[in-house]
């Protein structure tokens, strides 16, 4: 009863603060709290700042925008740290495996490639995390909260793919560790069979990894949707191999040793929730126990699946449009384990989904962020003019930061107003054409500064003009190299 009451309260509070962060009514949603690993940022009530000459209302809205951008940024940094820790752990375990007498023993030609697969996958994740860190650093140098969020969104796909990829990779790592134990401790286990099993599992895992590495939103979301089932399957295979390995043991002492070894490797694993306990009662006892949001986070029965801090972190990222809800849902289901993995096609329970940020705004954002449902898409326009691609490339706008990443959708009428200056003699007395204007501003600034502008400086200039022109910083990608 009490828990149930709490769930409702939590959902309501999430809904109300959730709405406030996007279109804040003055004086509401003023106590945003975020605490990753103990560090808390408590936001007090907003001061009305009249120093810009604006009204108190404008000051409040600006202050709230700054705070929610800061909160999203902290979540971004938190998630980045978490995923980085996970990839570092995987990396060190992989190097350890490469010196092990199991995988790198007699059958090294067969088993070392499995370790190499993992190392190769780790590489794109590490590159992605480095890129996301770079964008996060750049974002922290932006005064404009919209530009700050825009840069975080730019890093979102990298973070999201690394998050899911590292979950999948840590499952693969467990399989490698299991194979290592089998090879060193269970001589009667058929090596041929083990190699076949590993090969087959990698065949299943590989395409998901490729999809995640592609960073293509459609592919990533599809992979995310399938991920819980895939991890579920891998977990099942892990359990089967483990049973077989135990049965292959010649004497009790050996069996106990193998059991210990296997048990110790699975405790740090994402599979720990899903794996049936080795000698204990079957996990069917958890059937019928759904996920619930409790004070400590998302619970399944009495077990904590993910912490409240994690939920809060993800909620902010989903709401800021940095990562997608399907990706976060997949992560939750994987953490929740067996039961939910097998129900992967079903949505998370409503309360949990809301806690993760599935508010109406997010739905709308995703709708407009992609090709809207059957609606004609407004033309996209490069904010950093295409004709000067090389100029921007020379100043660091390459890769994830290439100018094609900074496009905006503009309605035709607005587009004309901005390009032609509308109907108010702007065209004649003031060359208000965006491309010409922005290049002029950047070039003048560079000449005056006496040195090449940095990406930070360029974005600062651009952010201010976008605000001046009333163009929102909802960047989208557009065609180009």
């Amino acid at each position: 009863m009490r828990t149930r009451h709490w769930v409702v309260w939590f959902a309501l509070s999430v809904l109300s603060t959730g709405c406030a962060s996007l279109t804040p009514p003055p004086g509401r949603g003023t106590h945003l709290r975020y605490s990753p690993h103990g560090a808390a940022v408590t936001m007090g009530s907003p001061r009305s700042s009249g120093d810009t000459g604006g009204s108190a209302h404008v000051g409040d809205a600006a202050e709230l925008a700054r705070r929610s951008a800061l909160a999203a940024h902290l979540s971004f940094a938190g998630a980045l740290g978490e995923v980085s820790r996970s990839t570092r752990r995987i990396s060190s375990e992989l190097s350890r495996l490469k010196t092990s007498s199991g995988l790198v023993g007699h059958y090294r030609r067969v088993f070392v490639p499995f370790v190499d697969h993992a190392s190769q996958q780790l590489r794109w994740m590490e590159t992605g995390l480095a890129m996301a860190t770079h964008l996060s650093t750049l974002a922290s140098e932006m005064e404009d909260p919209d530009m700050r969020l825009a840069l975080l969104r730019l890093g979102g796909p990298r973070l999201q793919s690394a998050l899911l990829g590292s979950l999948l990779l840590s499952v693969w790592l467990d399989l490698l560790l299991l194979a290592d134990v089998v090879l060193t401790q269970c001589p009667s286990y058929s090596v041929e069979r083990l190699a076949g099993e590993m090969d087959q599992l990698w065949t299943m895992l590989g395409p998901a990894m490729t999809a995640l590495a592609s960073l293509e939103p459609v592919q990533v979301d599809a992979a995310a949707a399938d991920l819980p089932a895939l991890v579920g399957h891998l977990t099942g295979e892990f359990a089967v191999t483990r049973e077989r390995a135990l049965k292959s043991g010649e004497n009790l002492q050996k069996i106990l040793l193998v059991k210990d070894l296997i048990e110790s490797l699975a405790t740090a694993s994402v599979m720990k929730m899903a794996l049936p306990r080795m000698w204990g009662p079957a996990t069917s006892a958890t059937l019928g126990v759904g996920l619930m949001v409790g004070a400590d986070g998302v619970m399944m029965g009495t077990r904590l699946v993910v912490s409240a801090e994690w939920v809060e972190m993800m909620r902010r990222l989903v709401q800021a449009g940095v990562i997608s809800l399907p990706a976060v849902s997949a992560a939750v289901r994987i953490h929740a384990g067996q039961l939910l993995m097998s129900e992967s096609k079903r949505d998370l329970p409503r309360g949990v989904r809301q806690a993760l940020g599935d508010g109406p705004e997010v739905g709308a954002m995703r709708e407009t962020g992609r090709t809207g449902a059957g609606m004609a898409e407004p033309p996209r326009h490069h904010v950093l003019p295409q004709e000067f691609r090389e100029w921007f490339e020379q100043r660091g706008f390459t890769g994830d930061m290439r100018i094609d990443k900074f496009c905006v959708r503009l309605e035709v009428a607005r587009h004309q107003a901005i390009h032609g200056g509308g109907n108010w003699r702007l065209g004649r007395t003031w060359p208000g054409e965006w491309n010409q204007m922005i290049m002029k501003a950047l070039r003048r600034a560079e000449t005056r500064a006496g040195q090449m502008l940095t990406p930070r400086e360029i974005l600062k200039v651009v952010a201010e003009y976008m605000t001046d022109y009333g163009i929102s910083m909802n960047f989208t990608s557009c065609g180009g190299r």
């Binding site: 810009t52 604006g54 509308g422 108010w424 003699r425 007395t429 501003a441 001046d468 009333g470």
Partner: protein, 156 residues
């Protein structure tokens, strides 16, 4: 903040309605009552997300053309840019960080200048960098003595 709404409909009508609602005869009078506010701050005070800085500036240009006070408007625009980008006044030393702020303010100034005045604004910018004003210089309006010396009125 901005969602592109400011370009919808008759923003010119909106702009003047708001100016009148606030008790001003002209947009210029409204702006001159807030000589150090940025164009953005003026736009935000006049409209809630449905007017933007560029529109305010174009309105100011149109009025100044009619009253032949363009040079005054151009001086006033430098005042706005300087108070936004160098809130503590002209830097004593032009170090790395300040160099960009000065460059940014001057670059913005030249884009918020009617074509007729571009050349003079360029020269004024050169002059400011060649013989810098006293540290802490922060003009509070278009009648600032140094500014007037830099860019005197020409119009009759």
């Amino acid at each position: 903040m901005s969602d592109g709404r400011s370009w919808d409909g008759h923003w010119k009508v909106r702009l003047y309605e708001r100016v009148r609602e606030r008790g001003y005869e002209s947009l210029t009078a409204f702006a001159e009552a807030r000589p150090t506010a940025s164009l953005l701050a003026l736009a935000e005070e006049l409209g809630e997300n449905d007017l933007n800085a560029v529109q305010v500036f174009s309105g100011l240009v149109a009025e100044a053309e009619r009253s032949h006070r363009l040079t005054r408007l151009v001086r006033g625009q430098l005042v706005r840019e300087l108070s936004a980008h160098l809130p503590n006044g002209w830097p004593a030393v032009l170090d790395e960080a300040h160099r960009f702020d000065v460059a940014h303010a001057l670059a913005r100034w030249s884009t918020y200048t009617p074509e007729t005045h571009e050349k003079r604004v360029e020269q004024a910018g050169d002059a400011l960098l060649a013989s810098p004003p006293p540290p802490g210089w922060r003009p509070l309006g278009p009648d600032d003595a140094l500014l007037l010396a830099l860019l005197p009125d020409e119009e009759a």
